[in-house]
């Protein structure tokens, strides 16, 4: 169900909220036929509600309330030949006049009647618009009030009923959403606890002792990395406030040094992780999805570091500029070399594993198979070395950048780099939480 975009008092057409759409179970109001979107029907206080003749026709056709259709004809709506409806003429069955100038055509769930609003968390105006949607504009000339009275009353009652139902539906939906959200938080907490207790996650692919050992190493790294990240954020925040409060160079240097020393820690962790479970490090499952997308050989690209920093380092002296350019070039070259080495590794593995074991006897096959597997195993062992070299490259690029820059520049650089990664992580969260249809 769609809501039409007629302007409601105090709101813009765009504020029709999505949730109202599918609460209109029994209302097959078709906005396409209804009020033209361009016609800003101004219902603000004191304005005269004007129905253009085209609208009037449409209203008569599209609203499917029987009473409404039969009761209201275009002629009935237009009053006094001006095409305008005088709001002051409008009367309710209850005899309440709307002296406030607002146009309301349904009883106790009118636009200005806030007490009728639902207690849901969505904006009040949504309901207003819901009400507006129902039954649309029904203002009648005072002279016709008696004859159309019964039909009007019936119609009004139906409107109220439909509005009430939709409010209830919306309420139920929102409650469902909120309980799901709570459940999600609970599940996340449980998962976190389970990880901390070192519960082995058994996959269906392989079982037993081997997996549990490596699973343990992977979990251990994940935990350590999570702690490292928290501490890193704390140090970065200190650095940020230090930079913003215009600390002197010597104090700033202490903050910068502590961040750099903390980076040393993560590379130690990664080194242990690579030795314990190279595939887990390579998989990047310890990173968020968006970070994982940009991963290279188990971490960030050393050549990307300087690209991310971009113009934030300026102004640079000539010597610094040359140093940065050289660093950009050398990190790129080293990265390319390692990438090509990895390609060669993968190709060698493919060749080894795809080589046909041809042998006349069964034992010949087994021997060939074993030797091929042995070769493949030694190839896999060099994978650890590649991950190790990639981490070294990252670490050295960071350290060289630190050497080239002044304290203040280094502080800015560390903040920019950290912010970039934070945003990637935030992007991952947003992506994972996106509503799906």
């Amino acid at each position: 169900m769609q809501s039409f975009k007629a302007a409601a008092p105090h709101t813009t057409p765009d504020m029709f909220c999505h949730s109202s759409f599918f609460l209109r179970g029994d209302d097959d109001f078709n906005p396409a036929n209804a009020f033209h979107h361009d016609d800003s029907v101004d219902l603000s206080s004191g304005s005269i509600f004007s129905l253009k003749s085209s609208n009037v026709d449409v209203v008569g056709n599209s609203l499917h309330y029987d009473a409404f259709n039969t009761g209201i004809r275009a002629a009935e709506i237009v009053s006094s030949g001006t095409g305008c409806l005088d709001t002051g003429q409008f009367m309710y069955q209850k005899g309440t006049t709307l002296g406030n100038g607002h146009i309301e055509n349904w009883g106790d769930s009118g636009l200005a009647d806030n007490s009728q609003q639902t207690d849901t968390s969505t904006d009040v105006d949504t309901d207003d618009k819901n009400q507006l949607q129902h039954g649309a504009i029904i203002t009648v000339d005072q002279s016709k009030l008696k004859t159309g009275d019964q039909k009007t009353l019936r119609r009004l009652a139906q409107n109220r009923e439909a509005a009430r139902k939709s409010r209830l539906r919306k309420k139920a939906y929102v409650q469902q959403l909120e309980s799901s959200r709570l459940r999600l938080t609970q599940l996340e907490q449980e998962l976190q606890k389970a990880r901390q207790q070192g519960i082995f996650i058994v996959s269906g692919l392989s079982g037993g002792h081997g997996l549990s050992v490596s699973g343990n190493a992977a979990l251990a790294f994940d935990m350590d990395y999570a702690h490292w990240l928290n501490e890193h954020q704390r140090l970065i925040n200190d650095l940020r406030s230090g930079l913003n409060s215009h600390l002197g160079d010597s104090e700033l240097r202490i903050l910068v040094e502590s961040v750099m020393a903390h980076y040393d820690e993560v590379f130690k962790l990664k080194s242990i992780g690579v030795k314990a479970d190279a595939f887990h490090m390579l998989s990047g499952m310890w990173k968020t999805p968006a970070e994982r997308c940009f991963m290279w050989l188990g971490g960030f690209r050393s050549s990307e570091l300087l690209k991310i920093l971009g113009n934030h380092l300026e102004p640079l002296t000539d010597q610094q500029l040359m140093g940065i350019c050289n660093l950009q070039q050398s990190s790129q070259q080293a990265e390319d070399a390692l990438s090509q080495g990895m390609e060669a590794l993968q190709q060698a593995l493919v060749d080894t594993l795809s080589s046909a074991c041809l042998g006349p006897t069964a034992s010949g096959n087994v021997a060939d198979y074993m030797s091929q597997m042995a070769i493949a195993m030694s190839k896999l062992a060099t994978l650890e070395n590649f991950l190790h070299q990639a981490d070294l490259l990252r670490h050295q690029t960071l350290q060289q950048m630190h050497r080239i820059l002044t304290t203040r520049q280094a502080a800015r650089a560390l903040l920019v780099f950290s912010d970039y990664n934070s945003r990637l992580r935030a992007l991952s969260s947003l992506w994972l939480a996106r509503p799906r249809n």
Binding site: S330, Q333, G341
Partner: protein, 125 residues
């Protein structure tokens, strides 16, 4: 017993069968060219280091130890020299030992590799 001296060509493994100290041979081979890499043809890290030099515009002299009859001894000697396994790839520049992959990459990142190459005459830019 007599010792043959000299080796010709960068990529052709020598066929001498003299008993010589493999380490001596390594040092001799290393001093004959600006950039010398001891490698094993199936080693992927060796492949990476070759790509690194080629990417920089350097043309290194490569000795594939698995294609050399005395390669095994040389490999062992290198392992003793470096104090670690694997022995390859190992790089000599200007006759002096630079080291394995991590040392070469570290010196490239901290900016000391290029001057070293220029000094040895392997790079002109």
């Amino acid at each position: 017993m007599h010792c043959q001296t000299g080796s010709w060509g960068s990529y052709v493994p020598t066929t001498r069968t003299t008993v010589g100290d493999p380490l001596e041979r390594i040092e001799r081979l290393a001093s004959e060219n600006a950039v010398v890499v001891f490698s094993i043809s199936s080693c992927c890290m060796c492949h990476a280091i070759k790509r690194l030099f080629c990417g920089m515009g350097v043309n290194p002299t490569v000795y594939e130890l698995d294609q050399d009859p005395r390669g095994k001894d040389m490999e062992k000697a290198l392992m003793r020299l470096l104090g670690s396994s694997p022995a390859v790839p190992v790089v000599f520049i200007g006759g002096k030992l630079v080291g394995t992959m991590d040392r070469v990459m570290a010196s490239h990142i901290n900016g000391t590799l290029v001057p070293l190459l220029k000094q040895a005459g392997a790079l002109w830019l």
